[in-house]
């Protein structure tokens, strides 16, 4: 253990992230072995580019949700609205695109702005009115669901396909790009770039410093003369904005959005974040961990589906993992105090 501590690389990346990465690899190997055993279907070969691409579909929009909520959890808060906010953004922007024929670029911006608006709303309510973040985000989750339905007159919205005559389908290239015979997971690359930017914000800027410190001891930061409300609000704004970006990738994968849904993604995004070592009590957060946490979730989903099992098994396993991780975090904190 001492040796590991001295290693500069390990210190920089974080011990937890390395462990997580190993779990990710082991999980992949596990599925590679298990899938052919469980599922006798000839197509059920897990070690293939197609499965990786499929897992990445899920990972890229889920990744942006998880990155966003990492900032909020770092302050010691929680945001349960991100899934429906993502759907709401996709619905509103998609409606404008298909029914009002707004230009695509504008609709993508609108997507992000809807997310930002919800994030700002959550942030202001939590910090300036002092409402508990749990309740606030539950309420805005309902508002997001309802608003999405109202704006689209309760109809599903289908964003254009890549081959659409309007030429408005190119946004799908953001998720995967066809280069000759090869399909390239562009979404994953953009997600990694996004994660790097988030990591820089969290670890190198004033905003990140204050967000983490507020999570550790809000009162001490306030008594140092820092505008804690402002910085805390910013965490929610970042979270909302990233949910808006996630919406673009969601439609990039599925094109069709149903009104009144999206809640399940909250739990999965938060699970990815917590799995990555971000403490639910705030003050400790790891962007790298969140990214790997999301990849583990994506791999779990893909693996379980390929085994021919129901998606419900993924929920059970994820739930169990979250319990174990949160308990381990709690224990290590108690020991430290």
């Amino acid at each position: 253990m001492d040796k590991i501590k001295e290693n500069a690389f390990v210190k920089k990346v974080g011990f937890n992230s390395l462990v997580l990465f190993c779990i990710l690899i082991l999980l992949y190997i596990l599925f590679a072995v298990l899938v052919p055993i469980v599922n006798s279907d000839a197509n059920a070969n897990f070690v293939s580019w197609a499965h990786i691409l499929s897992a990445m579909n899920y990972a890229c929009f889920m990744g942006f949700l998880s990155l966003g909520v990492t900032f909020v959890i770092a302050t010691g808060g929680i945001d349960f609205s991100i899934g429906p906010v993502m759907f709401c953004a996709a619905l509103i922007a998609g409606y404008q695109l298909t029914m009002k024929e707004w230009p695509l670029a504008l609709c993508l911006v609108l997507c992000i702005l809807v997310g930002t608006a919800f994030g700002t709303l959550n942030g202001l309510l939590v910090t300036y009115l002092g409402l508990p973040s749990f309740i606030t985000s539950m309420a805005s989750m309902m508002i997001a669901k309802g608003l999405g339905s109202v704006c689209t007159k309760t109809q599903p919205v289908s964003w254009p396909q890549l081959s659409d005559a309007s030429g408005n389908g190119w946004y799908r290239n953001l998720v995967r790009t066809q280069i000759g015979d090869m399909t390239f997971p562009t979404g994953l690359v953009i997600l990694v770039i996004g994660a790097v930017i988030c990591a820089i914000i969290l670890n190198k800027t004033k905003a990140g410093r204050y967000i983490l410190c507020i999570g550790s001891n809000r009162e001490a930061v306030r008594l140092s003369g820092v505008n804690t409300k402002g910085w805390e609000t910013l965490a929610y704004i970042l979270c909302g904005t990233l949910a808006g970006i996630a919406a673009i990738f969601y439609v990039g994968v599925y094109t069709t959005v149903q009104p009144g849904l999206g809640d399940t993604f909250n739990n999965e995004a938060i699970a990815g974040c917590v799995m990555g070592g971000t403490s639910m009590t705030g003050g400790v957060a790891s962007i790298g961990g969140t990214l790997i946490g999301v990849l583990i979730m994506a791999l779990l989903q893909e693996g379980i589906m390929t085994m021919g099992l129901q998606i419900n098994y993924q929920y059970i396993i994820t739930g169990l993992i979250v319990l174990v991780v949160v308990y381990a975090d709690l224990r290590s904190r108690r020991r430290r105090n």
């Binding site: 820089i200 190198k204 800027t205 004033k206 410093r209 204050y210 983490l212 410190c213 550790s216 001891n217 009162e219 001490a220 930061v221 306030r222 008594l223 140092s224 003369g225 820092v226 505008n227 003050g283 400790v284 430290r336």
Partner: protein, 497 residues
């Protein structure tokens, strides 16, 4: 006064590094009200905690009703008949009065709670005590005084033989105190033994029969109340030998510029019409007993808590301080009495804590200039002789004294000219203590000005140039160090209005 009901003899208790009780005696008779007095930290509460089994004693004997007893928890003491009425009331606000009184021993009707029976029993109890409270009322709707009556009724319902009142009058109005005294006299009539802890001299004279005085964990003596004067009691409370040399004269010029002036500051019950001045290069001590409102005054001044009214002038200019941010902008730094909650961020590094109030100056564009930050943190580690393996060490791993230095560093990095040290040496060992004193003297020599809130008399007399004394939210005295004595300070600290 009747027979002896409770005797504590030679009670000794040590905590790591502190001899909290040094062979303390206390004797309570049936039908007497026995005052227990002493300064902050004299050991009154510790003694009561030993009695009720919250702490175990190291040596000594407790005799109750002729038998030697040793309780291992408050429940046992309660069952035997010794009950504490705490200063902070332990009531569940959303339950009714009767439900609170009988909590943990509810009357049952089969599987269900019998509220009607509990209301009846509570009403009987109140009638017996001459208290006018509706048992079906929700607890949180009662005044503090009425809630306390309920606590007393609860104690009586436990068939208490000895009741300990821990500063019962601190939160009460005059009328409520009268009612409380009426009940206490009634209990005395019924031959209960009553221990009454209070700082209020005039109450002691009115309600108690005997006074036992403690000082620095030791037993000083027991007096018959009606045979002694207030001065006798104060002398017993403070009559310690001061080992460290007290400051005999102030080095601050009488006409040194006033850097901070506070006029008619009001913030709730604990800060009422407080005015004072702080001069350049001065250490202004704030003395008083627990709950005198000193910390509350500082928090209101610093903008940590809202204030109702009052003017603050920094360097002669009127300033509007609404939040700590405003205070810091005007060069005021505050070292809280509760370091871990309000001072440091324990799971962040020394460097991160050091620049917490100044981060704007350690930026390179959008990013934190880590090198510059580490350099300044290292600079203050060197200046303050903070013992830490490095500036990236988490503060949680440092000792109390060194944590305090990190908080000081935070305000020095900010270059604050007015520093409020609230209990600067609380929980700090002796060696680190004198370092902090030395540091404070250096700071004022450099022209900074310090307000020092302290509950330690020796600290006040050793460090201050001038002393402001508060009692129950009001300023009750101000003394230059030349004229200050323990007696005069304690006199002002127990002065009600």
């Amino acid at each position: 006064m009747g027979d002896v009901i409770l005797t504590m003899k030679g009670i000794d208790k040590s905590f790591p590094g502190v001899h909290a009780l040094d062979h303390v005696d206390l004797e309570v008779r049936k039908g007497e009200v026995h005052a227990l007095m002493g300064e902050n930290g004299a050991g009154k509460s510790t003694l009561m905690k030993v009695l009720t089994g919250i702490y175990s004693k190291d040596s000594g004997t407790i005799t109750f009703e002729g038998r030697e007893v040793e309780f291992t928890n408050p429940r046992e003491a309660q069952d035997a008949g010794i009950v504490i009425v705490h200063q902070e009331l332990n009531m569940l606000g959303h339950l009714t009065v009767a439900q609170n009184i009988f909590i943990g021993r509810e009357f049952m009707k089969g599987k269900f709670i019998d509220d009607r029976k509990m209301n009846e029993e509570a009403r009987k109890l109140f009638d017996q005590l001459g208290i006018d409270i509706d048992p079906t009322e929700t607890m949180s709707r009662l005044t503090v005084g009425k809630q306390q009556m309920c606590e007393i009724a609860k104690a009586i319902s436990h068939d208490a033989k000895v009741i300990i009142f821990d500063e019962p009058s601190a939160a009460l109005t005059e009328a409520e105190i009268e009612e409380l005294f009426k009940i206490i006299r009634d209990l005395r009539e019924r031959q209960l033994g009553i221990v009454y802890i209070s700082h209020r001299m005039d109450e002691i004279k009115v309600i108690t029969d005997r006074v036992t005085v403690m000082r620095d964990g030791g037993y000083v003596g027991t007096l018959i109340t009606k045979d002694c004067t207030k001065e006798d009691i104060i002398n017993m409370m403070v009559g310690r030998v001061i080992y460290e040399d007290p400051k005999t004269e102030s080095q601050v010029a009488k006409d040194a510029p006033v850097v901070l002036k506070v006029e008619h500051l009001n913030a709730g019950r604990m800060v009422q019409d407080v005015s004072f001045e702080l001069r350049k290069g001065e250490i202004l001590g704030f003395s008083g007993l627990m709950g005198a409102g000193r910390t509350e005054t500082m928090r209101a001044l610093f903008g940590a808590d809202p204030k109702q009214s009052g003017d603050i002038y920094v360097n002669g200019e009127k300033v509007d301080i609404k939040s700590p941010k405003d205070a810091v902008r005007h060069g005021i730094g505050y070292l809280s009495e509760d370091r871990k909650r309000f001072g440091i961020i324990v799971d962040k590094s020394v460097a991160e804590n050091s620049t917490m109030a100044t981060l704007d100056e350690y930026m390179k564009g959008l990013f934190i200039d880590k090198k510059k930050e580490n350099d300044v943190a290292q600079k203050y580690v060197d200046i303050l002789k903070t013992k830490t393996p490095g500036v990236d060490q988490l503060v949680v791993n440092l000792s109390g004294g060194n944590q305090q230095k990190v908080v000081i560093a935070k305000w020095l990095v900010r270059n604050c000219d007015i520093l409020i040290f609230d209990e600067p040496t609380r929980g700090i060992d002796v060696g680190a203590k004198s370092e902090i004193y030395h540091l404070m003297n250096e700071l004022v020599a450099e022209g900074k000005s310090i307000i020092m809130v302290s509950s330690e008399m020796t600290e006040i007399l050793r460090m201050s140039d001038r002393i402001v004394i508060m009692c129950e939210g009001r300023k009750t005295g101000e003394l230059g160090i030349e004229e200050a004595t323990q007696e005069r300070i304690m006199h002002a600290a127990t002065l009600r209005n």
